[in-house]
């Protein structure tokens, strides 16, 4: 990260982003008036579409399907070059040839969540009723809504039971929602750096981000698309604040310390003198090139509302009563956004339901982001969990 330019070279245009919203370069499943998406807020969303990517081949008995659920700012491009940023897939450390999720062995599906901005219907999509961008007219969506939409996609793909559902952070929330809502359709679940409910501190950080977006004069109550503008500054600030929560004090210190950016002495100005400032500004400005501000509001809101126990009379264990799914829960020692205590509470509830669960806390100073980084112990555990589940499931495979 050292040597990152304070001003990125924008190879990406806003046109690329908005094109992907309605005409994604990935596969798209369209659901017409006969198949509305029933949302938790009481509205039937119709028509709607889900953009998705698949890797590998579905076996003849349809037993090797794996669904990957992406995090807040992720998308379906899990293991291929991103059509907007040109960067490699966001989880190609876990997914790919020789990786724990090898397309030679599994049929891997990853879809953009409802409310997202990479091709699935969301606030940046065109509202067919008005011909204009939805903006704040788009209904507020929840994690269960995202999962309900994914289940419709999985139906469409002709898959009954998923061999595994895998995800970290907001993706992990979806994994848990899958097991609570469709326990018989999930053979194994790998839930990483997540929680069964969003904490007060996390809601607070999200509110900070949303207020930063809304304070940008270019936001226009969410109707910026009609004006051909985008609240870049507000969204960049939201991303900068959020990015700090994805790291850790130790990781920031190790990466940047108090080192200066391309200079020896302070400039006695509000320039990005420190490398850490330069890094954060880069994170903010590169993010706004690929992400829609309203979508950010909706997805953070969905995470805030998430509370599995609340949907089951306040008793988390009831959500998993009698479940046969094999669980693997992973947390990271330096993750203060989804600390180990949250995973432990989940594991206790799973134990109380007599579920088959593995739980590993991995030591790292890289914070919440560790699940996206090269952490060998995490890959070893993921691989072993999937192999063991594959053996129990009777999957024929090459390496386990």
């Amino acid at each position: 990260m050292v040597g990152v330019k304070s001003v990125p070279s924008p190879a990406i245009s806003a046109d690329d982003r908005s094109h992907e919203v309605d005409h994604p370069s990935s596969e798209v499943a369209r659901f017409g008036a006969d198949q509305p998406l029933r949302l938790d807020c009481g509205i039937d969303l119709t028509p709607f579409q889900i953009a998705y990517k698949t890797y590998g081949e579905l076996s003849a008995d349809r037993s090797n399907a794996v669904l990957i659920c992406h995090a807040l700012t992720g998308d379906q491009h899990v293991a291929n070059v991103h059509p907007v940023t040109g960067k490699s897939g966001w989880w190609d450390t876990l997914v790919g040839p020789g990786r724990p999720l090898d397309p030679a062995k599994y049929f891997i599906v990853c879809s953009n969540v409802i409310g997202g901005c990479m091709g699935s219907t969301g606030p940046a999509s065109i509202n067919p009723a008005t011909g204009k961008v939805w903006g704040l007219d788009f209904p507020v969506i929840t994690i269960p809504d995202m999962v309900r939409a994914q289940a419709m996609l999985i139906d469409r793909l002709g898959i009954d039971t998923l061999f595994a559902v895998v995800g970290g952070s907001m993706g992990g929330m979806q994994v848990l929602q899958w097991t609570a809502a469709y326990p018989k359709r999930v053979y194994s679940a790998l839930a990483i750096a997540c929680s069964t409910r969003h904490s007060a501190q996390n809601i607070a950080f999200h509110e900070l981000g949303r207020q930063a977006v809304m304070a940008d004069p270019d936001w226009h109550n969410g109707a910026y698309a009609d004006r051909g503008i985008h609240p870049h500054r507000g969204l960049a600030v939201a991303r900068m604040a959020a990015h700090i929560t994805y790291l850790s004090d130790a990781a920031l210190h190790r990466k940047f310390g108090r080192r200066m950016q391309d200079r020896e002495l302070p400039t006695f100005s509000f320039d990005a003198d420190f490398q850490v400032e330069s890094y954060l500004r880069y994170q903010g400005s590169s993010f706004v090139e690929r992400f829609d501000a309203n979508s950010y509001l909706y997805l953070t809101r969905a995470m805030d509302y998430f509370d599995i126990a609340a949907d089951h009379g306040g008793v988390l264990a009831k959500a998993f009563a009698g479940i046969q799914t094999r669980f693997c829960v992973v947390s990271f020692t330096s993750d203060w956004l989804f600390p180990t205590a949250e995973s432990r509470a989940l594991v206790h509830a799973l134990n109380a339901s007599s579920a088959r669960v593995s739980f590993a806390e991995i030591e790292t100073d890289r914070g919440h982001d560790a699940f996206l980084l090269d952490v060998p112990e995490f890959f070893d555990i993921s691989r072993a969990f999937l192999q063991s589940a594959g053996k129990a499931r009777g999957l024929t495979n090459k390496d386990g």
Binding site: R344, H348, N351, R356, S358, E361, I381, A384, F385
Partner: protein, 220 residues
């Protein structure tokens, strides 16, 4: 139930085989195939792996993060947890057997742990080092030191074992809390069962560790 009634049972025929420890093989033979088992303090998961080879649905709890991660990396269903604090999270009758192998002496409240084992599991298998073993006695009597052995090499100031007991002590605890002893074995220094029908005091003197198959007593 008196100690004499329980202890001098026929020894099991269990030769060390493969890479599995003799005491693990003995424990595994006490578990009926096809049952559901929780191994409390499962270490590196060797016993769980042995159980899985016999078609047993095994789960584990382990205190050390390194141990847990090694288990999970072997594909075992193991969670990080503490026998003293985390057993309360499991419902009654969740398992056919709950195993506490060489862990009882490291718990803060062995009696509460034992009661929890037999609440969660219909049966419990408990093994522990016998502090009545003659070499232990000799070290204290002659050497004047807290005993240390090959299997328990730590000094008194850095050992995790805080509640040592003898076979006799354990049997008395089982009687006191109304636990039924279905089977009892004393193992020698090499983990082999003492085969002969011997009086209990011989077991307490020559058994390096005790292995007990327990179930809920009357009125419990």
């Amino acid at each position: 139930m008196s100690v004499q009634e329980v202890l001098p049972l026929e020894g099991l025929v269990s030769e060390p085989s493969g890479s599995f420890r003799a005491d693990h093989l003995l424990v595994a033979e006490m578990v009926k195939p096809g049952s559901k088992v929780l191994d409390v303090g499962c270490g590196d998961g060797d016993l769980l792996q042995l159980l899985e080879t016999r078609g047993i649905d095994g789960r584990g709890i382990e205190l050390s993060r390194e141990g847990v991660n090694r288990c999970v990396a072997k594909g075992l269903a193991v969670v990080q947890g503490d026998a003293d604090t985390d057993l309360v999270n499991y419902p009654d009758d969740a398992f056919d057997y709950v195993i506490l192998s060489q862990t009882l002496q490291a718990t803060r409240q062995p009696k509460v742990v034992l009661e929890n084992l037999l609440r969660i599991g219909r049966r419990a298998i408990v093994s522990f080092p016998n502090f009545g073993f003659w070499r232990m006695r000799l070290q204290l009597l002659v050497g004047g030191h807290m005993p240390r052995t090959e299997n328990l090499p730590a000094s008194w100031y850095d050992t995790a074992n805080i509640h040592f007991c003898t076979i006799k002590d354990f049997v008395e605890l089982c009687d006191a809390i109304g636990v039924k002893m279905e089977r009892a074995e004393a193992l020698d220094l090499y983990g082999r069962p003492l085969r002969l029908r011997l009086p209990w005091w011989v077991w307490n003197l020559f058994g390096e560790q005790g292995v007990f198959l327990l179930s809920r007593g009357q009125g419990k």
